[in-house]
Symmetry: C2
Subunit: 331 residues, 2 copies
């Protein structure tokens, strides 16, 4: 295969739907794959947001626990999650691939199918990229989104007294890893839920936009590195500490923890790769925000604690280390 043949195959995956119909590109994208750069018309009333992530085979994914198509999906979802955490709507993405010379064409196509499926699911157009030789399969994605100036949420807006909440229970992705690597043996449907969370995670784009549009929500971050690490980051950026009151654990994670004789919360605090969002909400407004969230999404906005003025994160009266994982290992 020449580079041009590979690019042609990639274009076909990006520009057509699986059923053979032509993919309808965002009407503001004027020039996609194939030139020195892609062109689009940004919204006049919004700010633009950009984020980038690199995933490396053997570090971020292994073929023993997920297909390359899953790896592609997960890579794109992780990037979209960063836009979700700003309250932004995705517009476009670029994909740079480093590919071992020994890689088969089919492997590249599988990876790209997953990337394109997640992109279409998140309504983001892949408009360009790069393809290069490398020792290890490497995927670097950049996503661009848009958010109304008043709706953009950073990590730094939290204030002491704010209620901390997450958009869903945590730990399922880590449970999925345990199932995929045969370290746990859940029954369906729990096993399916765990594997789905691990292999086909969902960026919380609608939730992020909904929360960003609510003035009582003051800070937001995604839980991609585990609740403990990401809560510490939100606290550091907001100049606060926090007290964790409860840690909502996904059913699949609780089941795996039971099987392995582990503390279930460990999966949520240290698991990572969950794409739920963590928000800080003005205390008085929290019941109202939570009620509106439940009405809109048919699920609970789960209260996990409060921000406090003293530095550090407490859980059960004890200091929680930045990486929940290290904390547990040391304990």
């Amino acid at each position: 295969m020449t580079e041009d043949e590979i690019v042609a195959a990639i274009r076909a995956i990006v520009e057509y739907e699986p059923d053979g119909s032509r993919h309808r590109r965002n009407s503001r994208v004027y020039l996609g794959i194939g030139d020195d750069a892609a062109l689009w018309q940004p919204s006049r009333s919004h700010r633009s947001a950009i984020s980038t992530d690199m995933l490396v085979e053997g570090v971020h994914f292994t073929r023993s626990t997920m297909s390359l198509e899953d790896a592609g999906w997960r890579a794109m979802a992780a990037n979209l999650s960063d836009l979700a955490a700003m309250g932004a709507r995705p517009v476009l993405a670029t994909v740079a691939l480093g590919v071992p010379r020994a890689a088969a064409f089919d492997e590249l196509v599988s990876l790209y199918r997953g990337l394109a499926a997640a992109a279409k699911h998140g309504r983001v157009d892949i408009v360009g990229g790069d393809l290069t030789a490398g020792d290890v399969l490497t995927v670097a994605i950049t996503v661009v989104g848009e958010v109304r100036r008043s709706n953009a949420l950073t990590r730094s807006g939290g204030r002491p007294g704010d209620v901390l909440a997450v958009t869903g229970p945590l730990g399922a992705a880590r449970a999925g890893l345990a199932v995929a690597s045969a370290q746990a043996s859940l029954e369906s449907p729990l096993a399916d839920a765990a594997l789905d969370a691990f292999r086909r995670p969902q960026a919380r784009l609608a939730e992020g936009r909904f929360l960003g549009a609510n003035a009582a929500v003051r800070a937001m971050i995604d839980c991609s590195d585990g609740l403990s690490t990401d809560l510490h980051r939100l606290c550091a950026a907001s100049g606060c500490g926090a007290e964790l009151e409860s840690v909502p654990v996904a059913d699949a994670a609780a089941a795996v923890a039971r099987e392995q004789g582990e503390q279930a919360e460990r999966f949520a605090l240290a698991g990572g790769e969950d794409f739920e969002l963590l928000v800080a909400v003005r205390e008085r407004a929290f019941p109202h925000v939570a009620a509106r969230y439940a009405a809109r999404f048919g699920k609970e906005l789960l209260r996990v604690g409060v921000l406090r003025s003293e530095a550090g994160v407490l859980w059960g009266g004890q200091a929680l280390a930045r990486t929940g994982w290290d904390h547990f290992s040391a304990g």
Copy 2:
């Protein structure tokens, strides 16, 4: 070093000038490194342009011929060149780094110094990135720029009869590689010119914007893969063929070719990594465009040939293969 310590060091390089003063960020960038995404206010009157490139140690650069600081500069310059080729002005960049676990902190700092120096030189702000473990040092850069709708130039606007021209002589980067790897032994100042072209290449941003703003310039591409390959690309996108009349060779490249007993044009046609721009200009307007270019930049817009309606690229009456290199090897 923890990841947070590395990020802090990188922030310091990006946010301060070498003299210790604070770097003045583009006033439209509202949020830089440190959150889930960066935010900026795009121009209301322009289109946005995006391009991405991945460079891998051992494939795109080796430490035996350039420092990591040079590699960083070159990586950023290559990306800026893609914006130059659209006629766009750079606004911001993101940088994702894959770093071997054994890499020293100083190596990362060197690489980032080069990235930041090229970014400041091109007036583009590094607003975010990612840092991950990997087997091989890998740099994936995404740049975003802006261009007035009427000034954006693609590869596809060329028409039969258009004059083909380049913004400067070619082959110097390849001559620099020969000097750096001790395959050639030029005297100064030719040696310095060659090494500079190889290690500290200049994206032709001002030239690209100037040419993009001229309605007689109908297509543009950068010569980063060698004049032969990039001319074939412009022809394919424009639905034309071309006749090459002359190939302007940089003095350093001519000297190395002489020393090695090679044809000098080979360095220009197949060398690559030159960031000069190749344009197709309406025939009648070419003298006027060239005169204005010379007046503005104090150098010639060098005519290299014409587009023609028949497919294929001719040079000296013979078909020129897509990769000038292969052509020469076969010959």
